[in-house]
């Protein structure tokens, strides 16, 4: 088995989770490569949706932003953002959306707004963009972020994008279309929320990663699924696609 980077493990894990999916709402960078890998492997009918107003992008190069002109040329449809958000996202056509954040709590709520106090922030982050409505309207949310103490927190400084809120049935009480976070892909392990409390739990540890390392990074007790297993490493085929076709310059190794 050839060796691989933690980023490659994240890309491959996210791609595998998209098996059979028809539409994915995506950003640039690592998630974008994951979606294109899924298209070439487990989700041949997958269409990429970008908040910039693109449905069914056919990029001729690695897009450098979600508004890259290569996402427009050759796409199936390019529309005003009012249609992208109104007809596609709110219209219920987005099966999976990939999100990330500066902070995530145990219930998959995300903060991309501020560190510190909103009125006098220590760090002013980008803000919601489309994340808030994506988190509520996409049928399922997959979260992709590296496992870091400062990111996996007990309490968010700001709730930008609702996950399972306070856990249990609290999200259902919002009566929103989307079912919220289903998966968290990190560089060390995979997490899901398949328990009555809707609390993040380890389902799979990447090769060579120990529970202690994960606890260490999360900085608190972490719930563990009964069916916890080791993540199958990237296959030769998967690595080849990523390294040769999808990210030849290795921008996201």
């Amino acid at each position: 088995m050839s060796d691989f980077t933690p980023s490659e493990m994240m890309i491959v894990s996210a791609a595998r989770a998209l098996a059979g999916i028809r539409t994915v709402f995506v950003g640039v960078g690592l998630p974008n490569i994951a979606c294109n890998l899924a298209r070439r492997t487990v989700a041949p009918d997958l269409e990429l949706i970008y908040e910039s107003g693109v449905y069914g992008a056919r990029p001729a190069r690695l897009p450098l932003s979600i508004g890259d002109p290569t996402l427009v040329t050759g796409a199936i449809s390019v529309m005003p953002m009012a249609d992208l958000f109104g007809l596609y996202l709110q219209g219920g056509l987005v099966e999976v959306a990939l999100l990330g954040g500066a902070q995530i709590d145990r219930f998959g709520n995300l903060n991309t707004t501020v560190i510190g106090d909103y009125a006098a922030p220590k760090v002013r982050l980008p803000g919601s963009g489309g994340a808030c409505e994506i988190a509520l309207n996409a049928r399922r949310i997959f979260i992709i972020m590296r496992l870091m103490k400062r990111a996996f927190v007990d309490k968010l400084d700001f709730y930008t994008s609702p996950g399972h809120l306070d856990g249990g049935t609290s999200r259902e009480s919002l009566n929103v279309p989307g079912s919220g976070p289903q998966l968290v892909v990190t560089d060390k392990a995979l997490f899901d929320f398949d328990n009555p409390e809707r609390e993040m739990q380890i389902t799979s540890l990447h090769v060579g990663v120990t529970l202690e390392q994960v606890r260490e990074e999360v900085g608190r007790e972490v719930r563990i699924s009964e069916s916890v297993r080791e993540t199958a490493p990237p296959s030769e085929a998967e690595l080849n696609l990523v390294r040769v076709e999808l990210d030849p310059q290795g921008m996201y190794r």
Partner: protein
């Protein structure tokens, strides 16, 4: 009909006065840096800047001190990282404190839509469970009068004093066509009290009329038409030039401190009289690098009916 063509200097002098609310729109594409730079050169101040994604253009304008308030939905250097100037203003009040009014993308889209359609509010499925309504009391809710009785979020209309829209082509009356990312330029233009169109090419009315479905903005709502090739650099114009990504990366370094930004503004904004000189100052290598190949649209026949 009157020819609405003005130079950028004339258009900004005529329509942008201190204290107005201004929306230079275009999502990643069509961002009219030429207008932003001219506003800086003319020393405007106390502007309320409105943009879904402030991008580098507002990062530069805010560092130059033209703004007292920012209305937005995403603060980032797209695909690169932070907008350091905006962060300095918000976190440290450098060069001056900046008031912010914050929404999500769809919230801004809905605000422009309500403004354009003269609606008192626009409903959208967002914000429930988020702290955003707590941070912005303009985000409210309405209850449906129908069976479900559902409560839904609403945002108020936004009607900028001036919208500045960059496009591939317009005629001298302001009839304007865009292709590529259409963003919310149409809604922003119809919502604004005044509209300045900036075009890569000025074409005959017959070119516009040869594809009426492509017309995004009618001359009816346009006050000035500015012919400004490369007016959106370092952002891009579909089919005309690519984003100058090298500059977006460089800006991440240039903008790390206020002094560096001021030096850059001195050289590239205050140091040039207009966009033509700015373009001349760019290396030919740059213009070559951002030149795309051909990808023509499939032909369409509207039919001659007489």
């Amino acid at each position: 009909m009157t020819d609405k063509r003005l130079s950028m200097r004339e258009a900004i002098a005529e329509y942008i006065t201190d204290g107005l609310s201004v929306a230079i729109e275009g999502f990643t594409a069509f961002i009219c840096f030429a207008a932003g730079h001219e506003i800086i050169r003319q020393g405007r101040c106390n502007l309320t800047l409105i943009r879904m994604t402030p991008d580098l253009v507002y990062d530069q304008m805010i560092a130059a001190g033209v703004a007292h308030k920012l209305v937005f939905s995403y603060l980032g250097n797209p695909g690169v990282g932070s907008l350091h100037c905006v962060r300095r203003a918000v976190e440290k009040g450098i060069p001056a404190p900046l008031e912010i009014e914050e929404y999500s993308h769809y919230g801004m889209v809905a605000r422009y839509s309500a403004g354009a359609m003269k609606l008192p509010f626009f409903p959208l499925r967002s914000y429930s469970g988020s702290d955003l309504p707590g941070a912005n009391s303009r985000i409210k809710t309405v209850q449906s009068p129908y069976e479900d009785g559902e409560t839904i979020a609403v945002v108020p209309p936004i009607n900028p004093d001036v919208a500045i829209i960059h496009a591939q082509r317009a005629d001298m009356l302001g009839n304007t066509q865009l292709w590529g990312l259409l963003g919310i330029q149409k809604e922003a233009a119809f919502a604004a009290k005044r509209v300045i169109v900036v075009a890569e090419q000025i074409v005959d009315e017959s070119v516009i009329q040869a594809d009426p479905n492509r017309t995004l903005i009618p001359g009816l709502i346009v006050d000035a038409v500015v012919h400004e090739p490369y007016g959106a650099h370092p952002s891009y114009v579909q089919g005309y030039y690519d984003r100058d990504n090298k500059f977006y990366l460089d800006w991440d370094q240039i903008s790390r401190d206020q002094a560096g930004v001021e030096a850059w503004l001195e050289e590239w904004v205050m140091g040039v009289p207009d966009r033509a000189h700015y373009v001349a100052k760019l290396e030919t290598e740059t213009l070559e690098r951002i030149k795309p190949g051909m990808a023509p649209a499939a032909p369409v026949n509207y039919g001659d009916y007489r």
